[in-house]
Symmetry: C2
DNA sequence: CGACGCGTTGATATGGCTCAAGAGTGGTGG
DNA sequence: CCACCACTCTTGAGCCATATCAACGCGTCG
Protein backbone atom coordinates (compact mmCIF):
# COMPACT_ATOMS: atom_id res chain seq x y z
CA UNK A 1 0.00 0.00 0.00
CA UNK A 2 3.07 2.15 -0.19
CA UNK A 3 2.34 4.59 -2.93
CA UNK A 4 3.50 2.83 -6.07
CA UNK A 5 3.71 3.77 -9.71
CA UNK A 6 1.75 0.66 -10.65
CA UNK A 7 -1.85 1.62 -11.13
CA UNK A 8 -4.25 -0.45 -9.07
CA UNK A 9 -7.50 -1.87 -10.33
CA UNK A 10 -10.18 0.83 -10.18
CA UNK A 11 -12.79 0.49 -7.48
CA UNK A 12 -16.38 -0.19 -8.40
CA UNK A 13 -17.93 2.02 -5.78
CA UNK A 14 -21.38 2.59 -7.18
CA UNK A 15 -23.93 0.15 -5.92
CA UNK A 16 -25.04 -1.98 -8.87
CA UNK A 17 -28.70 -0.92 -8.95
CA UNK A 18 -31.08 -2.88 -6.77
CA UNK A 19 -30.84 -6.41 -8.02
CA UNK A 20 -31.69 -8.40 -4.93
CA UNK A 21 -29.05 -11.09 -5.40
CA UNK A 22 -26.19 -8.63 -5.81
CA UNK A 23 -24.73 -7.62 -2.49
CA UNK A 24 -24.41 -3.88 -1.97
CA UNK A 25 -20.82 -2.97 -1.13
CA UNK A 26 -20.35 -1.89 2.44
CA UNK A 27 -18.47 1.35 2.90
CA UNK A 28 -17.34 3.38 5.89
CA UNK A 29 -16.19 6.96 6.25
CA UNK A 30 -13.49 8.18 8.60
CA UNK A 31 -12.51 11.67 9.69
CA UNK A 32 -9.01 13.09 10.17
CA UNK A 33 -7.42 12.04 13.44
CA UNK A 34 -9.86 9.19 13.92
CA UNK A 35 -8.48 5.67 14.06
CA UNK A 36 -9.70 2.95 11.77
CA UNK A 37 -7.92 0.31 13.82
CA UNK A 38 -5.03 -0.05 16.23
CA UNK A 39 -2.14 -2.46 16.39
CA UNK A 40 -3.29 -5.64 18.09
CA UNK A 41 -6.98 -5.20 17.32
CA UNK A 42 -8.66 -8.37 16.04
CA UNK A 43 -8.54 -8.03 12.27
CA UNK A 44 -11.90 -9.08 10.95
CA UNK A 45 -12.13 -6.55 8.13
CA UNK A 46 -9.99 -5.42 5.22
CA UNK A 47 -10.39 -1.99 3.65
CA UNK A 48 -9.93 -0.59 0.19
CA UNK A 49 -9.41 3.14 0.12
CA UNK A 50 -11.98 4.76 -2.17
CA UNK A 51 -11.15 8.37 -1.35
CA UNK A 52 -8.96 10.24 1.13
CA UNK A 53 -5.60 9.37 2.61
CA UNK A 54 -4.82 7.03 5.47
CA UNK A 55 -1.71 6.77 7.61
CA UNK A 56 -0.36 3.44 8.84
CA UNK A 57 2.01 3.65 11.78
CA UNK A 58 3.93 1.58 14.26
CA UNK A 59 4.91 3.05 17.60
CA UNK A 60 7.58 1.86 20.05
CA UNK A 61 7.09 2.05 23.79
CA UNK A 62 9.40 5.04 24.09
CA UNK A 63 7.42 6.93 21.49
CA UNK A 64 9.58 6.41 18.44
CA UNK A 65 7.31 6.16 15.46
CA UNK A 66 7.57 4.64 12.01
CA UNK A 67 5.07 5.50 9.32
CA UNK A 68 4.71 2.23 7.43
CA UNK A 69 2.70 3.60 4.54
CA UNK A 70 0.24 6.20 3.37
CA UNK A 71 -2.94 4.68 2.02
CA UNK A 72 -4.21 6.39 -1.13
CA UNK A 73 -7.27 5.54 -3.20
CA UNK A 74 -6.77 2.12 -4.74
CA UNK A 75 -4.66 0.92 -1.83
CA UNK A 76 -5.75 -1.85 0.46
CA UNK A 77 -5.12 -1.66 4.20
CA UNK A 78 -5.69 -3.93 7.15
CA UNK A 79 -3.99 -7.13 6.02
CA UNK A 80 -4.14 -9.35 9.06
CA UNK A 81 -1.51 -11.69 10.42
CA UNK A 82 -2.44 -14.21 13.08
CA UNK A 83 -5.85 -12.59 13.08
CA UNK A 84 -4.65 -9.19 14.22
CA UNK A 85 -3.72 -5.85 12.75
CA UNK A 86 -0.04 -5.05 13.02
CA UNK A 87 -0.16 -1.29 12.62
CA UNK A 88 -2.26 1.63 13.76
CA UNK A 89 -4.33 3.22 11.03
CA UNK A 90 -5.91 6.67 11.03
CA UNK A 91 -7.04 9.20 8.47
CA UNK A 92 -5.16 12.32 7.34
CA UNK A 93 -8.19 13.70 5.51
CA UNK A 94 -11.83 12.62 5.42
CA UNK A 95 -11.79 9.23 3.73
CA UNK A 96 -14.16 6.60 2.48
CA UNK A 97 -13.39 2.91 2.46
CA UNK A 98 -14.90 -0.20 0.96
CA UNK A 99 -15.08 -2.88 3.63
CA UNK A 100 -14.47 -6.58 3.08
CA UNK A 101 -14.91 -9.28 5.67
CA UNK A 102 -11.66 -11.01 6.42
CA UNK A 103 -13.00 -14.46 5.77
CA UNK A 104 -13.66 -13.41 2.21
CA UNK A 105 -9.93 -13.14 1.78
CA UNK A 106 -8.95 -16.17 3.75
CA UNK A 107 -11.43 -18.78 2.66
CA UNK A 108 -12.29 -20.34 -0.65
CA UNK A 109 -15.83 -19.01 -0.33
CA UNK A 110 -16.81 -15.62 -1.60
CA UNK A 111 -16.38 -13.85 -4.90
CA UNK A 112 -13.33 -15.29 -6.70
CA UNK A 113 -12.79 -12.01 -8.54
CA UNK A 114 -12.69 -10.12 -5.27
CA UNK A 115 -10.51 -12.78 -3.84
CA UNK A 116 -8.03 -12.38 -6.66
CA UNK A 117 -8.06 -8.61 -6.41
CA UNK A 118 -7.27 -8.67 -2.71
CA UNK A 119 -4.47 -11.12 -3.32
CA UNK A 120 -3.06 -8.90 -6.04
CA UNK A 121 -3.23 -6.04 -3.57
CA UNK A 122 -1.22 -8.08 -1.08
CA UNK A 123 1.39 -8.83 -3.72
CA UNK A 124 1.58 -5.17 -4.77
CA UNK A 125 1.97 -4.33 -1.11
CA UNK A 126 4.93 -6.67 -0.76
CA UNK A 127 6.54 -5.24 -3.86
CA UNK A 128 6.08 -1.66 -2.71
CA UNK A 129 7.47 -2.43 0.71
CA UNK A 130 10.63 -3.78 -0.92
CA UNK A 131 11.23 -0.36 -2.51
CA UNK A 132 10.66 1.23 0.85
CA UNK A 133 13.36 -1.01 2.37
CA UNK A 134 15.98 0.22 -0.02
CA UNK A 135 14.97 3.76 0.77
CA UNK A 136 15.08 3.35 4.53
CA UNK A 137 18.25 1.34 4.66
CA UNK A 138 20.51 2.69 1.99
CA UNK A 139 19.54 6.15 0.81
CA UNK A 140 20.67 9.60 1.96
CA UNK A 141 18.19 12.20 3.13
CA UNK A 142 17.97 13.94 -0.29
CA UNK A 143 17.58 10.62 -2.03
CA UNK A 144 14.83 9.65 0.39
CA UNK A 145 12.88 12.84 -0.04
CA UNK A 146 13.35 12.83 -3.81
CA UNK A 147 12.11 9.23 -3.99
CA UNK A 148 9.14 10.11 -1.85
CA UNK A 149 8.15 13.10 -3.97
CA UNK A 150 8.65 11.18 -7.18
CA UNK A 151 6.49 8.25 -6.21
CA UNK A 152 3.81 10.51 -4.81
CA UNK A 153 3.78 12.64 -7.94
CA UNK A 154 3.51 9.60 -10.20
CA UNK A 155 0.65 8.37 -8.12
CA UNK A 156 -1.41 11.43 -7.22
CA UNK A 157 0.28 14.36 -8.97
CA UNK A 158 -1.81 16.82 -10.98
CA UNK A 159 -0.68 18.83 -13.98
CA UNK A 160 -0.25 22.54 -13.36
CA UNK A 161 0.75 24.40 -16.49
CA UNK A 162 3.91 22.76 -17.74
CA UNK A 163 4.62 21.15 -14.40
CA UNK A 164 3.27 18.51 -12.09
CA UNK A 165 2.02 19.48 -8.70
CA UNK A 166 1.42 17.33 -5.65
CA UNK A 167 -0.44 18.07 -2.44
CA UNK A 168 0.92 16.71 0.82
CA UNK A 169 -1.85 15.97 3.28
CA UNK A 170 0.71 14.81 5.83
CA UNK A 171 2.91 16.91 8.13
CA UNK A 172 6.70 17.14 7.98
CA UNK A 173 6.75 14.87 11.02
CA UNK A 174 4.79 12.24 9.10
CA UNK A 175 7.20 12.43 6.20
CA UNK A 176 10.13 12.24 8.61
CA UNK A 177 8.71 9.14 10.28
CA UNK A 178 8.06 7.60 6.88
CA UNK A 179 11.62 8.22 5.69
CA UNK A 180 13.44 7.54 8.94
CA UNK A 181 14.55 11.15 9.42
CA UNK A 182 13.76 14.05 11.76
CA UNK A 183 11.38 16.87 10.92
CA UNK A 184 14.30 19.30 10.90
CA UNK A 185 16.17 17.25 8.32
CA UNK A 186 13.06 16.91 6.17
CA UNK A 187 12.56 20.67 6.32
CA UNK A 188 16.19 21.38 5.46
CA UNK A 189 16.05 18.91 2.59
CA UNK A 190 12.94 20.56 1.18
CA UNK A 191 14.81 23.84 1.32
CA UNK A 192 17.79 22.28 -0.39
CA UNK A 193 15.66 20.98 -3.29
CA UNK A 194 13.87 24.32 -3.47
CA UNK A 195 17.13 26.30 -3.63
CA UNK A 196 18.35 23.94 -6.38
CA UNK A 197 15.18 24.92 -8.31
CA UNK A 198 14.19 21.29 -8.55
CA UNK A 199 10.93 21.89 -6.73
CA UNK A 200 8.89 24.91 -5.70
CA UNK A 201 6.78 25.05 -2.58
CA UNK A 202 3.40 26.66 -2.35
CA UNK A 203 1.55 27.07 0.93
CA UNK A 204 3.85 24.59 2.71
CA UNK A 205 1.93 21.50 1.63
CA UNK A 206 1.84 21.95 -2.12
CA UNK A 207 4.92 20.98 -4.08
CA UNK A 208 5.54 21.76 -7.74
CA UNK A 209 8.03 19.56 -9.53
CA UNK A 210 10.14 21.92 -11.64
CA UNK A 211 12.74 19.41 -12.80
CA UNK A 212 11.33 15.88 -12.81
CA UNK A 213 14.41 14.46 -14.54
CA UNK A 214 16.74 15.90 -11.93
CA UNK A 215 14.44 14.70 -9.17
CA UNK A 216 14.47 11.19 -10.56
CA UNK A 217 18.25 11.27 -10.91
CA UNK A 218 18.63 12.23 -7.26
CA UNK A 219 16.09 9.63 -6.14
CA UNK A 220 17.94 6.82 -7.90
CA UNK A 221 21.36 8.04 -6.83
CA UNK A 222 22.29 8.48 -10.51
CA UNK A 223 23.77 11.90 -9.91
CA UNK A 224 27.22 12.50 -8.47
CA UNK B 1 9.70 -14.11 4.76
CA UNK B 2 11.65 -12.07 7.22
CA UNK B 3 12.47 -14.47 10.02
CA UNK B 4 9.50 -14.22 12.32
CA UNK B 5 8.61 -15.73 15.67
CA UNK B 6 5.36 -17.07 14.26
CA UNK B 7 5.82 -20.69 13.33
CA UNK B 8 4.80 -21.48 9.79
CA UNK B 9 2.78 -24.46 8.74
CA UNK B 10 5.06 -27.46 8.39
CA UNK B 11 5.87 -28.59 4.89
CA UNK B 12 4.72 -31.94 3.61
CA UNK B 13 7.81 -32.82 1.68
CA UNK B 14 7.50 -36.54 1.39
CA UNK B 15 5.90 -37.66 -1.81
CA UNK B 16 2.60 -39.34 -0.98
CA UNK B 17 3.48 -42.81 -2.23
CA UNK B 18 2.73 -43.50 -5.86
CA UNK B 19 -0.97 -43.02 -6.21
CA UNK B 20 -1.32 -42.01 -9.83
CA UNK B 21 -3.90 -39.28 -9.28
CA UNK B 22 -1.96 -37.51 -6.54
CA UNK B 23 0.49 -35.02 -7.94
CA UNK B 24 4.03 -35.45 -6.70
CA UNK B 25 5.38 -32.21 -5.27
CA UNK B 26 8.02 -30.66 -7.42
CA UNK B 27 11.19 -29.65 -5.61
CA UNK B 28 14.44 -28.04 -6.66
CA UNK B 29 17.81 -27.81 -4.99
CA UNK B 30 20.13 -24.84 -5.12
CA UNK B 31 23.78 -24.47 -4.14
CA UNK B 32 25.46 -21.57 -2.31
CA UNK B 33 26.13 -18.62 -4.58
CA UNK B 34 23.73 -19.83 -7.23
CA UNK B 35 20.78 -17.63 -8.09
CA UNK B 36 17.23 -18.89 -7.92
CA UNK B 37 15.97 -15.81 -9.74
CA UNK B 38 16.93 -12.22 -10.44
CA UNK B 39 15.04 -8.98 -10.16
CA UNK B 40 12.97 -8.49 -13.29
CA UNK B 41 12.80 -12.17 -14.23
CA UNK B 42 9.33 -13.32 -15.26
CA UNK B 43 7.86 -14.76 -12.08
CA UNK B 44 6.15 -17.98 -13.02
CA UNK B 45 7.02 -19.93 -9.89
CA UNK B 46 6.76 -19.47 -6.15
CA UNK B 47 9.02 -21.35 -3.75
CA UNK B 48 8.64 -22.67 -0.24
CA UNK B 49 11.93 -23.21 1.54
CA UNK B 50 12.15 -26.80 2.76
CA UNK B 51 15.76 -26.70 3.93
CA UNK B 52 18.69 -24.33 3.74
CA UNK B 53 18.81 -20.53 3.80
CA UNK B 54 18.12 -18.10 0.97
CA UNK B 55 19.08 -14.46 0.62
CA UNK B 56 16.80 -11.91 -1.05
CA UNK B 57 18.50 -8.73 -2.17
CA UNK B 58 17.94 -5.52 -4.05
CA UNK B 59 20.85 -3.71 -5.65
CA UNK B 60 21.11 -0.10 -6.80
CA UNK B 61 23.01 0.89 -9.92
CA UNK B 62 25.91 2.26 -7.91
CA UNK B 63 26.24 -1.02 -6.03
CA UNK B 64 24.47 -0.16 -2.80
CA UNK B 65 22.72 -3.27 -1.61
CA UNK B 66 19.78 -3.98 0.65
CA UNK B 67 19.14 -7.47 1.94
CA UNK B 68 15.35 -7.67 1.98
CA UNK B 69 15.09 -10.93 3.87
CA UNK B 70 16.70 -14.25 4.66
CA UNK B 71 14.55 -17.19 3.66
CA UNK B 72 14.50 -19.97 6.23
CA UNK B 73 12.61 -23.27 6.11
CA UNK B 74 8.90 -22.55 6.19
CA UNK B 75 9.33 -19.20 4.43
CA UNK B 76 7.90 -18.54 1.01
CA UNK B 77 9.87 -16.58 -1.58
CA UNK B 78 9.21 -15.34 -5.06
CA UNK B 79 5.97 -13.43 -4.64
CA UNK B 80 5.43 -11.78 -8.00
CA UNK B 81 4.18 -8.30 -8.75
CA UNK B 82 3.14 -7.42 -12.28
CA UNK B 83 4.38 -10.86 -13.26
CA UNK B 84 7.98 -10.24 -12.27
CA UNK B 85 10.27 -10.90 -9.34
CA UNK B 86 11.30 -7.76 -7.53
CA UNK B 87 14.42 -9.01 -5.78
CA UNK B 88 17.40 -11.19 -6.52
CA UNK B 89 17.42 -14.50 -4.71
CA UNK B 90 20.35 -16.80 -4.08
CA UNK B 91 21.33 -19.47 -1.58
CA UNK B 92 23.64 -19.08 1.41
CA UNK B 93 23.84 -22.83 1.99
CA UNK B 94 22.64 -25.79 -0.07
CA UNK B 95 18.87 -25.52 -0.05
CA UNK B 96 15.84 -27.43 -1.20
CA UNK B 97 12.62 -25.78 -2.27
CA UNK B 98 9.09 -26.86 -3.03
CA UNK B 99 7.97 -25.26 -6.27
CA UNK B 100 4.50 -23.97 -7.01
CA UNK B 101 3.32 -22.64 -10.30
CA UNK B 102 2.32 -19.02 -10.06
CA UNK B 103 -1.12 -19.53 -11.53
CA UNK B 104 -1.90 -21.80 -8.61
CA UNK B 105 -1.66 -18.73 -6.40
CA UNK B 106 -3.34 -16.30 -8.70
CA UNK B 107 -6.28 -18.20 -10.01
CA UNK B 108 -9.26 -19.85 -8.42
CA UNK B 109 -8.14 -23.19 -9.80
CA UNK B 110 -5.83 -25.46 -7.94
CA UNK B 111 -5.77 -26.82 -4.44
CA UNK B 112 -7.71 -24.46 -2.14
CA UNK B 113 -5.66 -25.57 0.87
CA UNK B 114 -2.45 -24.71 -0.94
CA UNK B 115 -4.02 -21.50 -2.09
CA UNK B 116 -4.83 -20.55 1.47
CA UNK B 117 -1.39 -21.47 2.72
CA UNK B 118 0.34 -19.31 0.13
CA UNK B 119 -1.95 -16.43 0.97
CA UNK B 120 -1.19 -16.84 4.67
CA UNK B 121 2.48 -16.79 3.74
CA UNK B 122 1.98 -13.50 1.91
CA UNK B 123 0.22 -12.02 4.93
CA UNK B 124 2.97 -13.21 7.28
CA UNK B 125 5.44 -11.69 4.90
CA UNK B 126 3.72 -8.32 5.09
CA UNK B 127 3.61 -8.49 8.87
CA UNK B 128 7.28 -9.38 9.14
CA UNK B 129 8.26 -6.60 6.78
CA UNK B 130 6.49 -4.11 9.01
CA UNK B 131 8.78 -5.10 11.89
CA UNK B 132 11.72 -4.69 9.58
CA UNK B 133 10.61 -1.13 8.78
CA UNK B 134 10.73 -0.06 12.39
CA UNK B 135 14.16 -1.60 12.67
CA UNK B 136 15.57 0.09 9.58
CA UNK B 137 14.03 3.47 10.19
CA UNK B 138 14.11 4.06 13.88
CA UNK B 139 16.54 1.81 15.71
CA UNK B 140 20.17 2.34 16.70
CA UNK B 141 22.87 -0.07 15.61
CA UNK B 142 22.78 -2.06 18.89
CA UNK B 143 19.03 -2.22 18.79
CA UNK B 144 19.16 -3.44 15.20
CA UNK B 145 21.65 -6.19 15.88
CA UNK B 146 19.89 -7.23 19.09
CA UNK B 147 16.56 -7.44 17.24
CA UNK B 148 18.17 -9.46 14.50
CA UNK B 149 19.76 -11.95 16.90
CA UNK B 150 16.59 -12.24 18.93
CA UNK B 151 14.35 -12.99 15.98
CA UNK B 152 16.85 -15.41 14.51
CA UNK B 153 17.26 -17.22 17.83
CA UNK B 154 13.51 -17.53 18.29
CA UNK B 155 13.24 -18.92 14.82
CA UNK B 156 16.22 -21.20 14.35
CA UNK B 157 18.08 -21.18 17.68
CA UNK B 158 19.21 -24.44 19.25
CA UNK B 159 19.64 -25.14 22.92
CA UNK B 160 23.23 -25.53 24.11
CA UNK B 161 23.44 -26.37 27.78
CA UNK B 162 21.59 -23.62 29.62
CA UNK B 163 21.78 -21.27 26.65
CA UNK B 164 20.44 -20.84 23.17
CA UNK B 165 22.83 -20.88 20.27
CA UNK B 166 22.32 -19.65 16.74
CA UNK B 167 24.39 -20.23 13.62
CA UNK B 168 24.79 -17.40 11.14
CA UNK B 169 25.14 -18.69 7.59
CA UNK B 170 25.46 -15.13 6.32
CA UNK B 171 28.51 -12.85 6.37
CA UNK B 172 28.84 -9.64 8.34
CA UNK B 173 28.30 -7.80 5.09
CA UNK B 174 24.96 -9.58 4.63
CA UNK B 175 23.90 -8.63 8.14
CA UNK B 176 25.02 -5.06 7.51
CA UNK B 177 23.01 -4.84 4.32
CA UNK B 178 20.01 -6.33 6.08
CA UNK B 179 20.19 -3.83 8.95
CA UNK B 180 21.22 -0.78 6.95
CA UNK B 181 24.70 -0.58 8.50
CA UNK B 182 28.30 -1.15 7.40
CA UNK B 183 30.27 -4.31 8.08
CA UNK B 184 32.54 -2.35 10.39
CA UNK B 185 29.63 -1.18 12.51
CA UNK B 186 28.17 -4.68 12.64
CA UNK B 187 31.51 -6.03 13.77
CA UNK B 188 31.93 -3.33 16.42
CA UNK B 189 28.40 -3.93 17.65
CA UNK B 190 29.02 -7.68 17.97
CA UNK B 191 32.10 -6.82 20.02
CA UNK B 192 30.07 -4.45 22.16
CA UNK B 193 27.45 -7.13 22.94
CA UNK B 194 30.21 -9.64 23.56
CA UNK B 195 32.04 -7.34 25.99
CA UNK B 196 28.75 -6.73 27.80
CA UNK B 197 28.55 -10.53 28.25
CA UNK B 198 25.16 -10.56 26.54
CA UNK B 199 26.37 -12.88 23.82
CA UNK B 200 29.40 -15.07 23.24
CA UNK B 201 30.88 -15.75 19.83
CA UNK B 202 32.22 -19.08 18.71
CA UNK B 203 34.01 -19.50 15.40
CA UNK B 204 32.74 -16.14 14.09
CA UNK B 205 29.43 -17.46 12.84
CA UNK B 206 28.08 -19.12 15.94
CA UNK B 207 26.48 -16.91 18.56
CA UNK B 208 25.49 -18.00 22.06
CA UNK B 209 22.85 -15.92 23.78
CA UNK B 210 24.05 -15.51 27.36
CA UNK B 211 21.45 -12.99 28.52
CA UNK B 212 18.24 -13.34 26.48
CA UNK B 213 16.37 -10.91 28.73
CA UNK B 214 18.98 -8.21 28.31
CA UNK B 215 19.09 -8.86 24.58
CA UNK B 216 15.35 -8.44 24.31
CA UNK B 217 15.46 -5.25 26.38
CA UNK B 218 18.05 -3.76 24.06
CA UNK B 219 16.14 -4.88 20.97
CA UNK B 220 12.95 -3.19 22.12
CA UNK B 221 14.71 -0.07 23.36
CA UNK B 222 13.44 -0.80 26.87
CA UNK B 223 16.81 -0.12 28.38
CA UNK B 224 18.22 3.32 28.97
C1' DC C 1 -5.12 39.16 21.54
C1' DG C 2 -2.60 35.26 23.25
C1' DA C 3 -1.47 30.48 22.86
C1' DC C 4 -0.49 26.66 20.46
C1' DG C 5 1.04 23.77 16.61
C1' DC C 6 3.79 23.51 12.69
C1' DG C 7 7.62 24.75 9.84
C1' DT C 8 12.06 26.83 9.19
C1' DT C 9 16.69 28.00 10.37
C1' DG C 10 20.93 28.12 13.22
C1' DA C 11 24.56 26.15 16.31
C1' DT C 12 26.44 22.22 18.18
C1' DA C 13 26.89 17.24 19.21
C1' DT C 14 27.41 12.54 17.91
C1' DG C 15 26.55 7.93 15.92
C1' DG C 16 27.83 5.57 12.35
C1' DC C 17 30.67 5.93 8.02
C1' DT C 18 35.16 6.05 5.68
C1' DC C 19 39.72 4.97 5.21
C1' DA C 20 43.37 2.15 6.69
C1' DA C 21 45.85 -1.50 8.85
C1' DG C 22 46.12 -5.89 10.90
C1' DA C 23 44.31 -10.55 12.49
C1' DG C 24 41.84 -14.65 11.85
C1' DT C 25 40.17 -18.38 8.75
C1' DG C 26 39.75 -21.59 5.12
C1' DG C 27 41.24 -23.45 0.78
C1' DT C 28 44.87 -25.09 -2.35
C1' DG C 29 48.96 -26.94 -3.97
C1' DG C 30 53.55 -28.30 -3.32
C1' DC D 1 51.77 -31.26 6.71
C1' DC D 2 52.92 -26.83 5.89
C1' DA D 3 53.16 -22.40 3.22
C1' DC D 4 50.76 -19.28 0.85
C1' DC D 5 46.90 -16.69 -0.67
C1' DA D 6 42.43 -14.76 -0.70
C1' DC D 7 38.82 -13.41 1.84
C1' DT D 8 36.40 -12.09 5.98
C1' DC D 9 36.48 -10.06 10.33
C1' DT D 10 38.16 -6.83 13.72
C1' DT D 11 40.05 -2.63 15.39
C1' DG D 12 41.62 2.19 15.19
C1' DA D 13 41.46 7.24 13.87
C1' DG D 14 39.16 10.91 11.92
C1' DC D 15 35.26 12.84 9.61
C1' DC D 16 30.71 13.84 8.07
C1' DA D 17 25.68 13.52 7.68
C1' DT D 18 22.13 13.69 10.41
C1' DA D 19 20.37 14.27 15.15
C1' DT D 20 19.75 17.33 18.90
C1' DC D 21 18.85 21.54 21.17
C1' DA D 22 17.19 26.06 20.66
C1' DA D 23 15.07 30.18 18.81
C1' DC D 24 11.84 32.29 15.98
C1' DG D 25 8.07 33.17 12.33
C1' DC D 26 3.71 32.24 10.80
C1' DG D 27 -1.01 30.85 10.66
C1' DT D 28 -5.07 29.26 13.18
C1' DC D 29 -8.25 28.99 16.70
C1' DG D 30 -10.32 29.91 21.01
Amino acid sequence: MYVTAAMPAPLALKTPSAKPNIVRQRTVTIKPGKHLFLEGDPADRIFEVASGVLRLTRIMEDGRRQVIAFGYPGDTVGFPSDGRYHTDCDALVPSTLVVHRRDQLESAKGDPALHLRLLQAALREISGMQDHFMMLGRKSSVEKLASFLRVLTDRVGEPLGDFDQVTLPMTRADIADFLGLTTETVSRTFTQLRKAKIIAIDHVNTVIILKPIALRAIAEGDDD
